[in-house]
């Protein structure tokens, strides 16, 4: 009845006025839609590379890097008086006090799933059905699932755009990633890169093998069953390709111009213009360091390393000078020590800016100048908050150490070829070769070599030391902190969908 009335009413009014004025189509002018986009090969390439976009957030404050490093014995974000309390969260990652409502916990989760759904959407889009494209996308999706499985354990699995298979166990996700790699790497093998940087920053056969190597290396953690042979096989595919080699100089693998490094297997191609998001200069340097590096923006004085970790390096280890910024800080091009007007009266060396490896406390009154700063990725003079250094995801040195670790676990720590691999990487430190090896030494050497490359949490868990006590943190031996909680936002989002999420144990 009502609809008849409305109809009559509408007809009458429309008759009165003019007929064209009931068209409500919405034609967006400043954004692409399915009506006007994805028509040309260039547009399709742009959309394809869009599946990698979430990774640019990895080295922001509060994403992958933070979750992998600040929760460990390599790095922390102390509360420096009035700075960096931030609801107790930054220090909370370090003390393993994180809860489902911690902001960064949802950040990585959402970004990794953004990658998954970008892949799924592309796979469902006409024009993205070439064998190489499909294989590349599926291996990329396997990587995103590896991130999710490694950090959160059990998450929903989706392989078709818009459809969820529900929350899968960690072992099921392991099996999924394994099967995706097994099915798609042979396809990628038909199109091998000609050089180390031939398909720069994109997934290729060797990137897939690196994903596999890390998956198998941690298989015991993920499934309870170790996969040392598979780990070795995956590493060998990369090593035997001959494409990759160690830099003579450790620093060149991390410099602002490391995009040509033959040590890079897969990187996030950060750039001050074309790939923004690597903000470590802001995150770690002191406000006054702006003068040292002539930075475009005042840094935030947050992240620093632990004194014990700094001291785990031999003073003559060339990596120590590269990986940290310590000591008095000078204005660029001068010998004028920078004066920090905000220095606490309790700072033993006064207002002159001086990064001491010693940190008085994690919270609440960490001295503003305390702590060795994370200098591994050299800061360019005049840098913007967006650094040019590419961030390695898989680096050749890591693959060599990974193979060594698998050999040691398979054959015992007396394995000579394993020791040779470790020493191959160790050689450029300027120190003497290792003559023996054990788990403790290997873990420490991995820490020194791969510092601030987002592997520490993964390594500590695999070696069984993630629940240890370290500076600012008491031991948490029950082990549930080795998985991050499913973020509260994901739990609430799923609650209304009929497929609720189960929280990880202990949260």
């Amino acid at each position: 009845m009502k609809s008849i009335k409305i109809k009559l009413f509408s007809m009458l009014c429309t008759g009165l006025v003019f007929a064209s004025c009931t068209n409500l189509d919405e034609n967006l002018k400043d954004t692409w839609t399915t009506k006007n986009f994805l028509k040309t090969p260039e547009e399709q390439s742009a959309a394809l590379v869009g599946a990698y976009s979430p990774m640019f957030s990895w080295y922001n404050h509060g994403s992958y890097f933070t979750l992998q490093e600040v929760s460990t014995d390599e790095a922390m974000i102390p509360q420096r008086g009035g700075d960096w309390y931030d609801g107790g969260q930054p220090a909370g990652y370090h003390t393993h006090s994180y809860t489902p409502n911690f902001d960064f916990v949802s950040g990585l989760y959402n970004q990794a799933f953004a990658g998954v759904s970008a892949v799924n959407r592309l796979l469902a889009t006409p024009g993205f059905d070439g064998a190489q494209v499909v294989a590349e996308l599926k291996v990329l999706r396997a990587y995103y699932y590896w991130i999710l499985m490694d950090n959160y354990g059990s998450v929903p699995l989706s392989t078709v755009f818009g459809e969820s298979q529900g929350q899968k166990s960690r072992a099921d996700l392991y099996a999924f990633i394994d099967s995706e790699l097994t099915a798609n790497l042979p396809v990628l093998k038909q199109n091998l890169p000609a050089t180390a940087t031939g398909t720069y920053s994109r997934v290729n056969y060797y990137v897939g093998q690196a994903i596999a190597a890390k998956l198998y290396l941690n298989a015991k953690v993920y499934t309870g069953t170790a996969q040392w042979d598979k780990t070795i096989a995956a590493c060998d595919e990369i090593i035997n390709s001959g494409l990759y080699s160690l830099e003579a100089n450790y620093a060149s693998a991390f410099s602002p111009t490391n995009n040509n490094s033959t040590e890079n297997i897969w990187v996030i191609p950060y750039d001050h213009a074309y790939g923004q998001g690597f903000n470590l200069d802001q995150m770690t340097l002191h406000y006054g360091s702006q003068q040292t590096y002539q930075l475009q923006q005042q840094p935030w004085n947050g992240y620093c390393s632990l004194e014990d970790f700094y001291n785990s390096y031999d003073p003559s280890d060339t990596r120590r000078a590269n990986n940290f910024v310590v000591g008095p800080q000078y204005a660029y091009g001068t010998t004028n020590q920078i004066q920090d007007s905000g220095a606490e009266p309790t700072d033993p060396d006064g207002p002159g800016l001086n990064f001491t490896p010693h940190v008085n406390e994690l919270a609440p009154n960490c001295l503003r100048q305390a702590g060795a700063r994370l200098g591994k990725y050299a800061f360019a003079i005049g840098a913007t908050p967006n650094m040019d250094n590419d961030a390695p995801i898989y680096r050749y040195a890591d693959i060599l150490l990974t193979k060594a670790e698998a050999l040691f676990n398979k054959n015992g720590y007396t394995d000579a070829s394993g020791l040779a691999l470790v020493n191959k990487v160790h050689k450029r430190t300027g120190l003497a070769d290792f003559t023996t090896m054990d788990a403790t030494t290997l873990l420490a050497e991995r820490g020194r070599e791969l510092a601030f490359e987002s592997w520490r949490r993964n390594d500590l868990i695999r070696f069984g030391h993630f629940g240890d006590a370290w500076f600012g943190k008491a031991a948490d031996p029950d082990g549930h902190r080795a998985l991050y909680p499913i973020p509260l936002s994901a739990i609430t989002a799923a609650a209304s969908t009929g497929t609720p999420l189960t929280q990880n144990p202990g949260y």
């Binding site: 008086g81 009035g82 929903p156 967006n386």
Partner: protein, 1002 residues
């Protein structure tokens, strides 16, 4: 000489006329006094007209009149609020008359959607406010006219920024998007209030409940404010001229340590004593001139006005310069059967926004630091020919004087409105109306941060911003009204069609590195970064044409002025919604019974009971939410070794997006008591808003992005409103009228996300305290079952640990640090207060005595709390923070608290009562030959005193939150209505204003 000449002329004329027409015209003089039958007092201003002629006069202040009339004359006495009376003069030379007050005649006209109604016919909750009742003093924004005057309308502005608007909220929180009421100016939906000068407004009508607003359908959810501008009247041309000068002084600022106290507390002593606040503030002077020419004949009426405003803020450099012009012409033809009108208005406003950050840093900058530092030994910049201002390396702290002196922040906005309307009486009782309107707004802003400005500029070796945006709006409406009397039943039907198109576009550029500061933002092409990649940031946008199509109808029944019934329906569609959900229906039905016509109740003159139900809606804030959109990422990718652009998706499309909707039930009682000396109305209502259009996190495994606009949530608001008007004294020369409006409401978040009702709130919808050190610290939470704007956080025990860190109370009563996992879980958090007031009050008193008038207006809000950010950040005695920032000093300051951590300690009750305005005016007695018909002078004060226990600057409720800015960052321009209650550090301080003005009518 002239007088004599006139006298002679008149005499001769009279003699001649008498001689010629004495047979049938005997002119003589009648005098007398008009009094009120209520109390016998003389009634001034009564129209006394000789019936059938244009001959008339007006009674004087005592009610006396004198008029020359012809033979057989009948005099008609009429006065607003009294029954007209006719007296046959006959042979009388003295006519004394008592006028009887008439309750029904008091019925004023109320503007409702697509027409007007007499107040007695209104069935919904509608309030009409005439210009006499508007707020007085220095009023530069039409919204301010309403502040505290209409029960249920909250009008709030924090601080005295001359370029900041008011936040208007009607009956609580009804939407999570744009929650301001819909503005209709002279019938034009959605026209800009910025293009109406407060001086040109004749009345503002507020449609409060759903039944009244439903005829506007979409966007009616937050209520409707109908603005009617002043029009010309038939008769002699009149010129009104108003002018005033207003002076603003800071009424209150943040209490901080003196230089000596600061040094004693451990601050660095740079050897000077600087009153930073004094350095960056000034006496704000506002000048306003308004002139209006109006008049006309029975068929042509016109009104032309020009308004000039020049406002200066309390912050140096802040102010505006505004010129507005308005023309209205009405022309009737074919014996008034065709009526046409045209309205035009235009406003040009130049604003200097200055930098409110300077006020913030003036409070916390080191009070021992000098303003300037010319010594190259300490100031490296001076050595290199740069800034001679004192600056040090601090996080989020800059020399405030340097900020305002070195940098530029200004803009110009032009608004043009044009509308035309034709009404035709087609058949007896049937009238057709067609109208078309357009509005164009164009705004250009520019800011420049100098090469050596430590604040924003030096990082980029000079930094310029230039933005331009324009909005375009067109409205076409056609409707018909049919009126029919069937016996005792009066029937009125209205039906019509409405079509709206709006669009926007803009362009912005930001670039740095300039050779010279001289050109500011006017030659961005000289930026050395233009040539480089990676630093140039361009921003331009163009919205689609957002279209709204609506069909609407309304029926009104009136039986013997006693039983009233109204029903309306609007069927409306929007291009911004999902294809299948574009149209929504917004019905209403309301009725009223005039009880005083049915029963005779002692001392009750009028009593009307109203009940109404109505549905309204709200639109998405922006376009495109229902479509899959690709954007070019700021990050590029590689194709082989070639860099290529990247297309990604930011939000997941929602093709099912539908109207936000609200239903409301309202019951009201209008009454007149004691010979209608006491009139008032009481309203109770309940409104349910649901399907808010909100960006929420969605399951990222199945959507193209982790966020999507969805229809979510349910907020229920219940409220009660009372308005009383009492003509307390009307004796002789003295009158006193008092008006009291009070309202109380509670907006409760019934549910947010179906399926999850978290007790610890969702930080994703809250607002963070911000830097330094309190990111990820959320003082406002949205918890199902709790009020909107619930302040939720850890409870401070009053004790601190050995580090001076505050200890919070855990669920088991034990004391723990805020960083303890038990506290971080939010489980021990408690409700610490509510950001929205539970009771609001406005009390107006008007006195007249002879030629004097006096008015004062008290306004209060009660029951709300504020998170005092100033205290939260700067009151603690952290030794490192003291080096960087001066300390806030209040009665709560404790030297043993060393940590800036949000807790119950920083939540304060902020109930207040303020003398919003007091005005005293004098009408200068005018001689009979004066060209002036009115000459009034007045003095007015705004914000004269505030009674509150709140220790912050301004206890005014924060109805929405604009986040905080840090270290040279920018604050958000749009407010979050779900996070009210935070007193941010980014507001102007409160000002006290004294205004002196003159009103003239020629």
């Amino acid at each position: 000489m002239t007088k004599l000449y006139l006298y002679v002329c008149r005499y001769l004329t009279v003699v001649l006329l008498c001689g010629a027409f004495s047979a049938f015209a005997q002119e003589r003089t009648v005098s007398g006094r008009v009094t009120s039958s209520d109390d016998g007092s003389g009634l001034p201003g009564v129209n006394v007209i000789e019936k059938g002629t244009a001959n008339g006069t007006v009674s004087d202040t005592d009610g006396n009149f004198k008029i020359s009339v012809g033979a057989n004359a009948t005099l008609v006495f009429s006065f607003v609020g009294y029954k007209s009376q006719e007296v046959v003069v006959g042979g009388q030379t003295t006519v004394d008359i008592k006028l009887v007050s008439d309750v029904t005649a008091l019925s004023e006209v109320v503007v409702v959607g697509y027409g007007t109604q007499e107040k007695k016919e209104v069935t919904g909750a509608a309030v009409s406010l005439k210009s006499e009742s508007f707020n007085k003093g220095n009023v530069n924004d039409p919204n301010q006219l309403l502040q505290g005057k209409v029960a249920g309308v909250s009008v709030s502005k924090v601080g005295a920024d001359p370029n900041e608007g008011f936040t208007v909220r009607l009956r609580g929180v009804t939407s999570v998007g744009s929650t301001g009421p819909l503005v209709v100016i002279d019938g034009v939906i959605g026209a800009s209030l910025a293009n109406v000068d407060p001086n040109d407004i004749a009345s503002m009508d507020v449609l409060k409940d759903g039944s009244a607003a439903a005829i506007y359908g979409s966007r009616g959810s937050a209520g409707v404010i109908l603005v009617t501008t002043k029009k010309g009247k038939a008769g002699k041309a009149a010129v009104d001229f108003n002018t005033y000068l207003a002076v603003d002084e800071i009424a209150k600022s943040v209490p901080v340590m003196s230089a000596d106290q600061y040094v004693a507390a451990g601050g660095i002593n740079y050897g000077s004593k600087t009153d930073w606040l004094k350095q960056v503030t000034q006496t704000g002077i506002t000048r306003v001139h308004n002139a209006r020419l109006s008049g006309g004949t029975e068929t042509t009426k016109y009104s032309i006005s020009v308004n000039y405003r020049n406002g200066g803020g309390i912050l140096k450099n802040s102010g505006f310069d505004q010129l507005n012009a308005r023309v209205n012409v009405q022309q009737n033809a074919f014996k008034n059967k065709v009526r046409a009108s045209i309205d035009m208005s235009t406003t040009t406003r130049k604003s200097n926004y200055s930098f409110q950050e300077a006020l913030r840093y003036a409070m916390v900058y080191n009070p021992t630091a000098p303003v300037m530092e010319n010594d190259p030994a300490n100031n490296a910049l001076v050595a290199s020919g740069g800034s001679p201002y004192f600056e040090r390396t601090y996080f989020d702290n800059f020399n405030p004087v340097a900020i305002i002196n070195q940098n530029i922040n200004e803009g110009t906005k032009n608004t043009i409105n044009l509308s035309g309307k034709v009404e035709v009486d087609i058949l007896p009782g049937l009238t057709g109306v067609m109208s078309a309107s357009m509005q164009k707004e164009n705004e250009q802003t520019g800011s420049y941060y100098a090469k050596h400005a430590y604040f924003r500029g030096s990082n980029r070796n000079g930094l310029a911003y230039r933005n331009e945006n324009s909005t375009d709006f067109k409205l076409f409406e056609a409707y018909g009204t049919y009126v029919k009397q069937l016996g005792d039943l009066h029937l009125q039907a209205t039906a019509g069609y409405s079509y709206q198109i709006s669009s926007y576009e803009g362009f912005g550029v930001q670039a740095g590195s300039f050779l010279s500061d001289a050109l500011g933002y006017n030659q961005i092409a000289y930026s050395q970064e233009i040539a480089q990649s990676g630093k140039l940031s361009l921003n331009n946008y163009a919205g689609p044409e957002s279209k709204i199509v609506a069909f609407f109808g309304r029926l009104n029944f009136n039986y013997k002025d006693t039983y009233l019934l109204a029903a309306s329906l609007r069927h409306e569609g929007s291009s911004r919604l999902g294809v299948d959900n574009r149209y929504g229906d917004f019905p209403s039905v309301s009725g009223a019974v005039v009880l005083s016509n049915l029963f005779s109740i002692p001392s009750v003159n009028s009593l009307k009971l109203r009940v109404g139900y109505g549905g309204t809606g709200a639109l998405p804030a922006g376009p495109g939410y229902s479509q899959l959109q690709f954007v070019q990422s700021s990050n590029y990718g590689y194709n082989g070794t070639t860099i290529i652009p990247v297309a990604t998706t930011n939000i997941a499309p929602n093709p099912n997006l539908k109207w936000e909707s609200k239903t409301e039930v309202n019951a009201g009682l209008d009454f007149g008591l004691m010979n209608s000396k006491l009139t008032g109305s009481l309203d109770v209502y309940q409104r349910n808003s649901k399907d808010f259009i909100m960006l929420r996190n969605v399951d990222p495994s199945t959507h193209v992005a982790a966020q999507q606009y969805q229809n979510l949530g349910n907020i229920q608001t219940q409220g009660i409103e009372l308005a009383l008007n009492y003509a307390a004294i009307q004796k002789g020369d003295f009158t006193w009228t008092t008006t009291l409006v009070g309202s109380s409401y509670k907006s409760v978040l019934k549910s947010l996300y179906s399926g999850i009702e978290t007790k610890i709130g969702l930080p994703e919808l809250g607002a963070s305290m911000g830097a330094p050190g309190q990111n990820n610290s959320y003082p406002i939470s949205n918890i199902a079952g709790q009020q909107v704007g619930t302040i939720f956080g850890p409870v401070f025990s009053g004790k601190v640990d050995s580090n001076g860190s505050p200890l919070m109370i855990d669920t088991d009563g034990s004391l723990k640090l805020a960083t303890d996992a038990a506290i971080l879980s939010r489980n021990p958090y408690k409700v610490l207060g509510h950001g929205l007031p539970s009771f609001e009050l406005g009390w107006t008193n008007t006195f007249t005595y002879k030629n004097f008038d006096f008015n004062f207006f008290l306004r209060g809000s009660f029951g709300h709390s504020l998170v005092n950010s100033w205290r939260d950040f700067y009151e603690n005695q952290n030794s490192g923070s003291i080096k960087s920032y001066n300390r806030v000093v209040t009665k709560f300051s404790r030297s043993d608290i060393k940590d800036a951590q949000f807790s119950s300690y920083y939540v304060e009750k902020a109930s207040f009562l303020k003398l919003d305005n007091a005005t005293i005016g004098y009408n200068v007695k005018l001689g009979g030959n004066s060209p002036l018909s009115k000459f009034r002078v007045y003095v007015s004060g705004n914000n004269l005193f505030v009674i509150t226990s709140y220790t912050g600057v301004d206890p005014e409720a924060r109805l929405e939150d604009k986040q905080s800015s840090d270290n040279g960052g920018f604050t958000s321009s749009t407010g979050n209505p779900l996070a009210p209650g935070i007193d941010r550090r980014s507001n102007f301080f409160r000002a006290r204003t004294i205004t002196v003005g003159v009103n003239l009518t020629f």
